[in-house]
Symmetry: C2
Subunit: 331 residues, 2 copies
């Protein structure tokens, strides 16, 4: 009898999670009841938002329950079906969690096509991270040709799409990333006009040099000191999309040292969660899927092999060890 | 020959201005050339924004020049005209500055009617402060019936209109003001559901009790600790209009201690200056003038008599000594 393996949350971390916050369990693969399907996951996504969910409260969503399977986005194949809308062999994107198999009544499944890109991309550039980028660009930053857009975590799953969409809109794009390898990738592959290593001792000077006409749009994934530096370069009527503050998840909060910049620049700062407006998903996925299928949307993945290594992949993500979208390959 | 008296900026203050930052000068009242008029000012407005203009730079507008007449909004009467659009005796609103008379080519003059309210109201509830309130309510906060709107400087020239417009939209309105007299005025006259004295030692507890369903709209005129307390009560999708940060103009900046609130609540924080969008002025002034004419818009003024006392009135304003719109009566 096939075995399902899953990670549950064993305990809540304070600060950086460690392997013992998770516990691997084994259960029989479920049999679908009437109106149910079983999905065999091919790929699992690990994302920064999971860290906030591990806290007991205070985030925008329900906390991850102790002893429940860790939540997470997955893409997989129907391997058993007693549901009239789903056939064995079809590919679906779901929130199946950190496990090999998921039982579903179909309500959380989105069918996708096999296209020219690997299925894992449905968890990245043509999935939730891509739609997040699309929302920030199209609904908040709205960059115009000639404007300057700055993007933190510029080579990450979200940031890499932000940079490419901003560039397609005609903006000058300035990335911020950790390390020279990522910065080189940002400019050579993703088309950023400049990319600055946030670990550089002269980060502030480099940023100032990279945004000679100031910043009109800031897509913030990280927070911390680079965010504050970016805020000091805002132009009149600048837009700031707060998508993530990964630098703050495990430590000191990101502050805004002087609210006057918002007033003086008549800036708008908007926090958003892409799941708040599901109405945009079809348009966003349509555009991103089309670009990726034609090879016009670049992406990079760090693929970790095997469910057992999911905690390592997640902790690595929080430490910036991944390069591009962090994926766990399950099948 | 009649004499014009005017205050010029003698020196830039650091921190709170004092009387010696201003110098009174006397000049002959100008004669209008062809296409010019002379306005005799009846009332002068002193406003917090003047403090930022006194700095050498870093604000959204050109700094007030040293030895130039202090800028300021005025309402007055045409006393001499060689301009075909303006007749002697007509009433105009202008930016005539801290002086008794102004020479103009007409381009900066807006004719207004004599209505049931005093002309000074064109500098307050039916002037720039009123339009500021209207913009914040209609373009940023957009309060819905049943929502909660918090307003700092709740009895001031802007705040008093914000509170009344929010209440007309069906929102619960919570004011923040300095002292029990202002708070009593806020609830008894302006219709606030509650008003909290920001000087109270248990301000945080009082605020929490006054916003049992959280804050959906925050109209910020002041900044400082009360602002931070309000931010901690934001609801999902809250809107924050940053109109002024008067608490910071002379001292420590207002910080946002943790940007996570913006992300977690998907909040929008928007700074604005009412002069950025002149297109809204006719609609705003039309609505506010109609309400005031019918007695449906309450306002309160602190009127200081005589140009010579303008610096005192201005410094008093920065110290919160005024009650309602601070006006200087010049004629």
């Amino acid at each position: 009898m096939p075995v399902n393996k899953a990670f549950v949350l064993a305990s809540r971390p304070s600060g950086m999670p460690s392997a013992d916050n998770f516990r691997l369990i084994e259960t029989p693969v479920p049999e679908p009841g009437e109106g149910q399907v079983v999905v065999r996951h091919h790929f699992l996504s690990v994302d920064p938002y999971m860290r906030s969910r591990m806290n007991a409260g205070g985030s925008y969503a329900e906390p991850q329950a102790i002893d429940a399977v860790m939540l997470g986005g997955t893409v997989g194949e129907i391997v058993a079906s007693r549901h009239k809308r789903f056939k064995v062999g079809e590919i679906v994107v779901n929130y199946g969690g950190w496990q090999l198999y998921a039982l579903s009544d179909g309500s959380d499944l989105n069918k996708v096509e096999r296209r020219s890109f690997p299925l894992s991309v449905y968890l990245g550039a043509v999935g939730m991270p891509g739609v997040t980028a699309w929302y920030g660009i199209n609904r908040i930053l709205k960059p115009k040709a000639g404007e300057t857009v700055a993007v933190s975590a510029a080579t990450g799953a979200v940031g890499s799409v932000v940079g490419q969409l901003a560039r397609r809109a005609g903006a000058r794009t300035v990335g911020i990333a950790g390390g020279s390898e990522k910065c080189a990738y940002a400019t050579r592959e993703l088309g950023y006009d400049a990319c600055i290593d946030h670990r550089a001792t002269n980060f502030a000077e480099q940023l100032a040099a990279a945004v000679p006409k100031g910043i009109d749009g800031l897509f913030e994934n990280v927070g911390g000191e680079p965010f504050k530096q970016c805020m000091s370069h805002l132009n009149d009527f600048a837009r700031v999309a707060i998508c993530g503050l990964i630098a703050s998840y495990n430590g000191a909060p990101t502050t805004l040292p002087d609210m006057r910049i918002v007033l003086v620049k008549r800036a708008t700062i908007q926090g958003f969660i892409v799941s708040d407006d599901m109405s945009i998903w079809p348009a966003a996925l349509g555009e991103l899927g089309g670009l990726a299928d034609k090879g016009e949307l670049k992406y990079r993945e760090t693929i970790t092999e095997g469910l057992e290594r999911t905690p390592d992949a997640f902790i690595g993500l929080l430490n910036g060890r991944n390069f591009g979208k962090q994926i766990v390959k399950l099948a």
